[in-house]
Amino acid sequence: MGVLIFIVMVVLVVGVIVMNAYNSLVTLRNRYKNAYSQIDVQLQRRYDLIPNLVETAKGYMKHERETLEAVITARNTAISANSQAARSPGDPAAMQQLGQAEAALTGTLGRFFALSEAYPELKADQTMTQLMEELSSTENRIAFARQAFNDAVTLYNTKREVFPSNVIANGFNFAEADLLEEATPEVRQAPRISF
């Protein structure tokens, strides 16, 4: 009789521990997925702004077709990388691909801005000024959102690794999530826009 009660108690305690660990893992996973959605909103805004920017610049920068096309290509690559990442946020391959695509896009944009220095009329253009301002504030928001995402992922990964939730994580297939980092150190800062 006593043994039976003891066993039932142990089973109950273990059950509660398993349930808690499982639930908190799910909560943390949802949290970083939600954090990714916030990056996604801002990234999409950035991708929407770029064609307008290029369109406006085209009128002034007649001889820089190559650079402009490179920006558009980089944007399109980034879009597909982002849609991949949005489907499975935290997935190492997707995160890495997005990081690289974003880095490439930032790089080409940097070149574009550097070139645009040589066109005073472009600098004076009202639409251009507005677009640039909006782009840079969107980039700041991306940086904030990415920070929040990385924090959420770190929290989740830590929970995955500590006892006893690591047992549950392995048993129920909670995969490790990857941080979203920019690939190359040179583009770690947002492009400087100075008119």
């Binding site: 949802n30 949290r31 997925k33 939600n34 959605s37 916030q38 996604d40 909103v41 801002q42 999409q44 805004r45 929407d48 949005a86 009202q126 000024t129 507005q130 301002e133 840079s136 504030s137 700041n140 928001r141 904030f144 826009i193 008119f195």
Partner: protein
Amino acid sequence: MTMNFFEHQDKARQNTKQLIGLFGAAVLCIILTIYLLAVVVFGGNPSSGSKAARRSGSYSRQYDGSPQPPMVQSRRLQLWNPQLLGMVALPTLLLIGGGSLYKIQRLRAGGAVIAQEMGGKLVTPDTTNPAEQRLLNVVEEMAIAAGISVPAVYVLEQERGINAFAAGFTPNDAVIGVTRGCLEVLSRDELQGVIGHEFSHILNGDMRLNLNLIGVLNGLLLIYISGRVLADLQGSVRDRDGKAVPIALFGLGLIVIGLIGVFFGRLIKAAVSRQREFLADASAVQFTRNPQGIAGALRKISQHSHQALVDSPYAEENSHMFFGSALRFAFLGEMFATHPSLGQRIRRIEGGARQFEEAPVATGTAIAADESGVMGLAGNLGGASEPSATPATMLTTQRAVAPAGVVAQVGTVNPEHYAYAKALVAQLPEALQGALRSQQGAIAVVYSLFLDEPESAVRQKQLEWLQQVEVAERLDQVTQLSELVDGLDPACRLPLLDLTIPALRQCSAKECQHLFKVVQGLVRADGRWSLNEFTLQVVLWHRLQPCVKTDLTVPVKFATLEAVWTECMLLVSVLAQVGETRPEAIAYAFRTGAFRLPGANPQVVPAQPLACTVADLQKSLEKLRFAAPKVKQGLVDACAHTVLLDSVVNVQEADLLRAIAITLDSPLPPFLSVQQGGATGRAKSGRKAV
């Protein structure tokens, strides 16, 4: 880690649950004690008890030399007596439960009940007493700065000690009571400190807890009282032999047990209340940024002949609500004190003040400076006076607030908002200020606020409507006042509405219903319901709830976001559409806000904002009032991100955001003005037309 408004609210609700747990434990202890007492007095069940005693006596005689004396054995046999337990437990439960429920039911009508019980006299805005006028001004300024409805102010005329209290369920129905001594002895700065302390109780959810505490204590005290009544019967009721009936003895026992109740009550009170006092002191310093004010008030209490004493017989049950300890004698000293000692409080305030000077910059807004293109909640209203300037305050005046900082601002006051409120009241035309003092004038101001453009056909219709439903003098008053109201900055309209509330609070329920009806007519005059009208209307309606309703509690009906998801989406959609004009910008603003909600994912967030009418908006808001504080926090955060996405905040979206926050009982300080943020040299874009 400092908690924000919503976390305080959550905590207060948890504390209420703990309180109920403690209450249950106290009741259980009391029942057990009474039961044991009854067992001793009646010797178990009187009818079967004697038989059992005889039986056990013969039993023990058979086994002579048994180690247990017969008495003990008979006691043990009768210790468990379900019938007697039922006889004891039922009336006790009824008494305590009934007492508590009765009190809680009475308190549902809000803080005014307590203020009146304590002998408070309502201070009306038309008072001529300069001290009372000053008090009203201090309260009014702080209420506008905090974004809550101006609390009703009561003066406890008979009390000479320096004390004050706040009572109510939500910021919306809060009342503030101040003793006569407090009014006469304290300087304006000190009074401001005391009021700041009370505002902290209002904003941190302490009041709700305090009211529940009063209800619970009332039940526990009731045993003590009924014990005394029973004991008094001793003189009159005697049985045939001229001996005192056990009932009287039982009554004496009840007094002892009642004292257990009093003991528990004090213990609970002390445990709940003391830490909150330190928090409120610290908040008062934060709100006014003037530690000298509240410290000075505490010093004056310690030197005053009446200290903080309150003579009202209700002081005992309400003692935990006061600013200083209201009771004459300390029961078992420090352990049971509802308030920390004055010296301790002064030391903490002044110690905190030193820290405050060393680290003047609030960390919560630190990211704001980095984020370009952010509009600030803080700024200057065209030529508004600077707050009494120290370098620290100057710094924060220049600082913009990021959307992420809005949640932290809910339920706080800072000196910039305080200065704004003062300037706002000061810049109102004299005639308008005069009108706000009387109930009739305030009603006329409300009507003027709802009038359409001057000389328009709609206004003509509205005036005709007023002619139908109102007396002629009122119409004249409206015509006069409307000229002044038309000339105001649109940003002043919502604060002006707030200023009418103290006078309007004197309306009876019937007068309020009439007011609502007339306003509804004014709104309907043009056949459509615009957002501006809705904003004013919903705030007016919400602020006047204490006049119309008898039950002011707001229970949590929706604990999770999922339960109110559609409503949240709708709110964010409306804010996005109000703030932006281009479709893709609207969608962007919507998505930025919507994805801030915890648990948002692409499956549940629509790609485009929802289309909705003002009526839908009203229904959603009404439902969202009953969401848990955590849900409201997420929602306010999402709304703030939508509104503050672009650096231009127009009056309409700012007012709508505030109206939403007000309805959710999450007071948001006013948006001071549009501020161009960032060093990026952004093109100057003017405020959008309303």
